[in-house]
Symmetry: C2
Amino acid sequence: MKSFGSSKEFNFGKDIQWDEVGDGVRRQIMAYDDTIMLVNVEFKKGGIGQMHKHYHAQVTQVISGSFKVTIGDETKILNGGDAFYIPPNVLHGAICLEDGILIDVFSPIREDFME
Amino acid sequence: MKSFGSSKEFNFGKDIQWDEVGDGVRRQIMAYDDTIMLVNVEFKKGGIGQMHKHYHAQVTQVISGSFKVTIGDETKILNGGDAFYIPPNVLHGAICLEDGILIDVFSPIREDFME
């Protein structure tokens, strides 16, 4: 597997660009090495994380807002303080019900975010 | 390596216990499998994450509050919106300057938190 090295050790939010990913969603890649990657994802109400899957394991903390989250064939509403786990290769997606922020963390690194 | 399986997919903050870890610090294990683990860590002002190291890679998002963070021989002050990366086996620690919350994520799972 190609190596992407690692992020800096200290990463200040004001210094890191936000990437628009469409559908009322933008993300900020905060910290990573080849084994792990942490990404802030900001959603506007109505923003959509389309159903998709990847081989990476994913853990997500809901920081604020409200989200209708689907993992496999189950859908629940999660709010600030809640979290979810997405096993490798399981279809998942989210619809933002109230403006909010998710912390998405992947293992290993999302190579597709680095290109 | 021993397997700990995985957390549930949907995890509601109100349902998950906080573990006191002393020094004005408590934590809540939100989501995991053997490859990744996400933990909320709440600090009171003056709370201390003692200097320590582990073989896991770590990424941390500062959600709120203010922290004096040491990684190796470098120390910086981080606030909400900032993040840090701790390479495997590097000494690190934090002192809480203002009440706050960190999202600590590890790869692989912190076996020591499961016992």
